[in-house]
Symmetry: C2
Subunit: 311 residues, 2 copies
């Protein structure tokens, strides 16, 4: 592929084209990833998740500015569930990160995967790898949504920031309980709002429930819009990456490899089985039968499975 | 199966057990779904989505009270991404719907699927079907997260309520753009907050961009904590279900059938391929090779695919 040497030397236009090819699952995209794969694996991947409205975008924007001041080339991937349904990602790119739009050493990309069932996880991991091969480091992966797929994607980052904000509802409580396990660092953003102290106290008491011997995640307070606490956050990130050690880093890389392999395998196997056993018309017929309750989905799936052989 | 006649006659303990079996993918769960399938397909399914903190739980709680006053048996499924990682769903069940906890004609269930890659969509659809077969109608499906999987699950409900709240950040804007397409009805909750009028105006201007001839979703203002607007909302729901007609309803049922069939097929095919081609140790070896960058995921997947034959 023509594009590979340019991408590996850091050319952003080649990188943008490569990500589009991969996202569309275009012919040749697998070869592209194969060829760039040996050049990736160096970048630090920072996962940023938390509820919508917590100020993740602004926080990411400030971290980008800080890393740019250190003359690092920074990649950003925004995992955007809305883009699965409409032009959300385009809107997202426009409202997001306007301050860095003209900086060639900041590469921002929203993932607009329309497919479902793992397509987003696959495309996001591929985009991170391509940015990595193009010399971007660190790479920030930000989720817009807080869903299973999105959490799965950030979970395997080298460091996972969970962004919380004081004074939200019960939903947040439920989410908080769930993401406690994946957080390496808690960011209490909008820390000038009422309830910040209570949120910090809640987090500390949640952490006291953690398994013995495992140190709880550090808590950093920020006011991202004002830039407050961003330097502390960067120090916290470095501290985590420094102390987490190579064993932990190796474990994360294996988890990421597994999630990536399974997402890709799932996508490819489903596509192979559908095209082999249920070309378009046949799929529509089966779906109609299920919708009219003439066959149940379990029986329909078993009929297809019976035609699949694994040697 | 012993459990089927009890479930179909409306016994809630059998229903609870059936959902657990299905969620765990226990042996016999496919037979269970096969046997109950002909008894389902009657219930109205109401999807409720929106950002965390928008007050979805309270809104659902109020709708449940309203339907209970009409002596309907109401099912609630909470699709909770956090539960994929920890005890989030248990917490969720406890904080949720405490007012209906002792009412045998309200059946509430959080989905705590640990698997990824479509497992949640599959289990949620199965739970709805089981509640339907047990005579619950309507069934409210509420997402806690706003992710790809969650949206996929509510998207195919008979009516989709998108809950928004005045005065949230940019993230909401992006999500709003994305969920515009799936909304049958917008709920502007916490409508006494500043910014409610602007939010309604924003929604109206977004809808003016919709394709010609397609009427935009109705907008209903609520203050769920005070019970304000809930009766209007119920009327709006009935109006949508009444006017959407059998063509549209048929299309939704086909979409739901397709999403359900593909989710199940994906899960089963992956599991068959993994157990056939990569029993546990082999999977760990491949993952380690990818993590150490000795092989790229595309090549690894192709090696597996080469062993899959579709007759």
């Amino acid at each position: 592929m023509d594009i590979v040497p340019h991408l590996v030397s850091g050319d952003v236009r080649s990188l943008a084209r490569a990500i589009s090819l991969v996202e569309e699952n275009a012919p040749g995209s697998a070869d592209l990833l194969r060829a760039t794969f040996p050049h990736a694996g160096r970048a630090r991947v920072l996962g940023v998740t938390g509820a919508p409205g917590a100020g993740k975008s602004t926080l990411v924007d400030r971290l980008v500015a800080l890393y740019r001041a250190e003359r690092r080339r920074v990649g950003v991937v925004a995992v955007d569930p809305s883009s699965a349904f409409s032009g959300g990602s385009i809107l997202g790119d426009r409202v997001r990160m306007q301050g860095h739009a003209t900086d060639p050493d900041v590469f921002i990309r929203s993932m607009a995967t329309r497919g479902h069932l793992g397509g987003m996880a696959r495309a996001t991991n591929d985009a991170v790898d391509l940015m990595d091969a193009a010399g971007f480091d660190p790479i920030l992966v930000e989720t817009v949504g807080v869903g299973q797929d999105e959490v799965e994607v950030v979970r395997t980052a080298d460091v996972v920031l969970v962004v919380l904000v004081p004074g939200m509802g019960d939903d947040i409580q439920a989410i908080k309980a769930g993401i406690l396990e994946i957080a390496d660092l808690f960011v209490v953003n909008k820390a000038d709002r009422p309830g910040a102290d209570r949120l910090v106290a809640d987090l500390e008491s949640l952490m006291s429930l953690a398994p013995e011997g495992r140190p709880g995640p550090e808590i950093v307070r920020t006011i991202a819009v004002a830039g407050d606490g961003i330097a502390d956050l960067a120090v916290g990130i470095e501290r985590f990456l420094g102390t987490s050690g190579s064993t932990r880093r190796g474990a994360r890389h294996r988890e990421r490899a597994e999630s990536r392999f399974l997402a890709l395998l799932s996508e490819r196997v489903l596509s192979k089985v559908l095209s082999g056993a249920l070309p378009e018309d046949a799929l529509a017929r089966v779906v109609a039968e299920i919708a009219e309750r003439r066959v149940d989905p379990y029986t329909a799936v078993e009929r297809v499975l019976a035609r699949v052989e694994v040697r």
